[in-house]
């Protein structure tokens, strides 16, 4: 009977410690969180690559169908079709170079939140002068039914006041 008691006690210890930690402490949760962060990182890189390639459809594919885009100087843009109409002129008239660096990314269930830095250069085609903008962004990512992630909310604004050149 003693071994049985030991087993019960050990099981009780394991159960209590597990209950105390909750899912956040479990190895599985940590592994999933790491996988989610890696997937989000890859998605961001895919988004940047699409922008830099001037590939509007590939860029739109990184965003949810009901994406909400909140750029400076214009009302909110709701959904893929509205976003395509809003940004298509830029893809047609500018050569764009974008880089993004995430400062903090946090996953919460089927949503993830991220803020970071964005640096973009836009050169009017065919041979205009390049305009450089330093900005910060806040993204909300949403997990899709197939487990992948997409950008669901996108707000960004410049880092410098008027008259101060972006470094």
């Amino acid at each position: 009977m003693v071994p049985m008691n030991k087993s019960v006690a050990v099981l009780a210890v394991v159960t209590l410690v597990s209950a105390g930690c909750g899912t956040a402490c479990s190895r599985g949760a940590r592994r999933d969180a790491a996988a989610d962060l890696a997937a989000i990182d890859a998605l961001r890189q895919e988004h940047v690559a699409a922008v830099n390639a001037g590939d509007l459809e590939a860029m739109l594919a990184t965003m949810t169908d009901d994406v909400v885009y909140l750029p400076p100087g214009q009302p909110a843009v709701l959904g893929t079709e509205a976003l395509r109409s809003a940004v298509q002129p830029y893809y047609e008239q500018f050569e764009i170079h974008l880089s993004m660096n995430a400062e903090e990314t946090v996953v919460a269930g089927d949503w993830a939140f991220e803020w970071g830095w964005a640096s973009s250069s836009m050169r009017p085609l065919p041979d205009g002068d390049t305009v450089h903008v330093e900005a910060k962004y806040l993204y909300v990512y949403e997990r899709q039914p197939d487990g992948s992630w997409k950008i669901a909310r996108d707000i960004f604004n410049e880092n410098t006041p008027p008259g101060v050149p972006a470094s």
Binding site: A9, L16, G73, A108, W111, F113, N157, N159, P161, P162
Partner: protein, 172 residues
């Protein structure tokens, strides 16, 4: 002796498991969203009544403002100082605030809303109208109330805004 050992082990484990503050009962999403709206109401009231302290009180310790045409303002104390500078020079009058969405997932969530109003320069009574949209990341505190982690906004029109004025270039 052996039995005592295992009893002690179980008790220690139970104590460790329960040593963290007890979590409040889980609430429905609707209740969480009501709690978030209540936080925003309190935020506005506290800003009105207590100024920069009241404004900053509703941010997470490591929270941040992501204002237009400025560097991020990170940390509760820096937010308080930023608002102090703002309120020394300007009065904010909100005419209308409209909710677009509030979503919650566990202890995190986000809120999106838009609003109109005006900034009034105290020294010269000049007014600048605003039409802005907002996106905030929120988190639940241990006491189940909510706080703002990040607060970001952009102008919704092409007109030059407060963020293009001398307040922005000189004050920050």
């Amino acid at each position: 002796m052996e039995s005592r050992y295992w009893t002690l082990l179980v008790l220690v484990a139970a104590t460790l498991a329960c040593s963290a503050s007890p979590k409040p009962e889980p609430r429905s999403s609707e209740a969480e969203i009501r709690a978030i709206h209540a936080m925003y109401d309190a935020w506005m009231e506290d800003f009105e009544a207590k100024g920069p302290d009241g404004y900053a009180a509703h941010f997470a310790k490591n929270g941040g403002l992501l204002p237009p045409k400025q560097a991020p303002v990170l940390g509760k104390e820096r937010i308080r100082v930023w608002v102090e500078d703002f309120t020394e020079q300007l009065t904010l009058e909100v005419a209308e605030l409209n909710w677009d969405e509030v979503k919650v997932s566990g202890d995190l969530g986000f809120a999106r809303y838009h609003g109109t109003g005006k900034y009034i320069f105290k020294s010269r009574r000049e007014e600048i109208a605003f039409d802005q949209k907002y996106l905030d990341v929120l988190q639940k505190r241990q006491d189940a109330s909510w706080e703002i982690v990040y607060h970001s906004w952009t102008s919704s029109d092409y007109d030059p805004s407060l963020w293009d004025t001398q307040w922005n270039t000189e004050g920050n």
